[in-house]
Amino acid sequence: MLQWLRWWNRNVVPPSQSTRTVILLPPANSDPPERPQPIVVVEHPPVVEPTPAPPPAIDPEPLVEPVVEPEPVPTTTQQVIAAEVVEPAALPEIPPSIPPTDWRGPAYFLPGAYTLRWGIQPVLQASRARSLPPAKYPASTPAQPSRQTATKSPPSTSGTFPFLLANDSASGMRVDPVLFTEFLITREEELSPAAARYWTDHAILDPSRDLSEKLLQVESPLTPAQLLAETAQPDAALALVVCHSVARAFARGSTILKHKRTTPSFYRYFDPNSLGAADPGDWYRFFGIASIAALASRGSIERSSGTPSRAVLQIDSLAQQFPASTDDLRYAALAWANAVQFWEWGTYSRSPQAVRTSARQSLDAFCFGLRAISADPSGPWRWSAPKPASLNPNDARLDASASLLEIQEAA
């Protein structure tokens, strides 16, 4: 019987049953043996602590594709545009130049305003509060009335950089500041015939061709100083203009110098460590600023003639707003050079970092130009860098203070 009950408890009652009958067994030594009484044991399922209900699900916001195209470099894929092209707004017409009747002459570029020693002060506006300390460098010889261009020197191997600079004076190349500015900022094919002379004048074109041919033979890239030395010109200012022309031809192509785009090869000839390798155009801009520094600091400026383009008029208005010294032509050169860089980068650049880099390079170029004519390159120099795309190309006059990003200084 006992064995049967044990068998019953063990096998018949299912363990998972919530209610099961257990028959308690009497002790084995009970006498007389008691009849076992069934006891019902109710087993409840384990109580599970209810977990807090999760918060109601929030519908996530639908993902929105960015509208702005993220690529900094324009896309070059072949994708054909969708039909929903935005209707372009009509742009106001801009006259290519200021009508002569509306233009009263360059306020800054006129020799009287430029040299300052002839009694006409430039209109300094926003820059008065940032005026520079007195200049240390004595003024150059006043500008001579007649234009002289340097004679072409016989081709020769270059010496070291300072060799070009000896015996330089105001008797070398001279420029009309309005036309020279137009030459610096305008594409070769769009230049007026008057401004194109800085490309085509044989005093500039011949050494430029020589330098181009020489450059194609170099075994290692040249630094700016080495390139300047390769011109083998006795007139350092002319040599700088030649370097500008050659660097520009290699960086942007040139019909006049017959330099056409083939495969990218600029940094095979121009040292990528000198001005960086971001843009070959940095080289011609460098020599453009250096040319201004050399020409203006030694007073090689002609009286302006002709009608300036709107861009040159804007540069002229900027130049009036930069610091100038009353007795030092280097500061007038600084204002002119700064105005050219300020105008270009303030109008067209879209990157503050690129503007800063350009301002630093331009300041270096300015000192380079001073050293090229054996002028004292020590400052202090203050260079105004513009906010990118802050200047309106449609305005006749520009406000430098409203577009100022920062001022860079050099000792």
């Binding site: 702005v68 195209e69 900094p72 470099v73 324009p74 896309t75 070059t76 894929t77 072949q78 994708q79 054909v80 545009i81 039909a83 092209v85 935005v86 209707e87 372009p88 707004a89 009509a90 742009l91 900022i185 305008t186 594409r187 094919e189 769009e190 290699f250 960086a251 942007r252 192509g253 330099h259 056409k260 785009r261 083939t262 990218p264 090869s265 600029f266 843009d279 070959p280 155009g281 270009e344 980068w345 109008t347 067209y348 650049s349 879209r350 690129a354």
Partner: protein, 110 residues
Amino acid sequence: MKISANLLAKIISLPSPYIQRRSNTVRFTLVLTVEEGIACRFAAASWADLLPDDIASDLVTQIGWKRIEHAPARLTVIRCTLSNANPNQAQCQIDLGSGFEPLAIQIEGV
């Protein structure tokens, strides 16, 4: 900054397989640069397969040399759709590095 209808007419007259012509619509995408010289190609073509020099030069003049110089990598992309192959009914956009923006059409005589 604009592109002339005359120049668009010159471009779509090129016998290029990269100009998409479907029913009455003509579409193309150009890449234009001034890096080491002016050059222009269709977007799907290579730099060895350029548009004629005069077209590239006119494009640079109309867009603006300095604008292209200051674009990233000195590159700009121009894409146009011409309804009925009519340059006067073209719609163009230009990307100078900040995404596509409308490019005005200069219609001669208007």
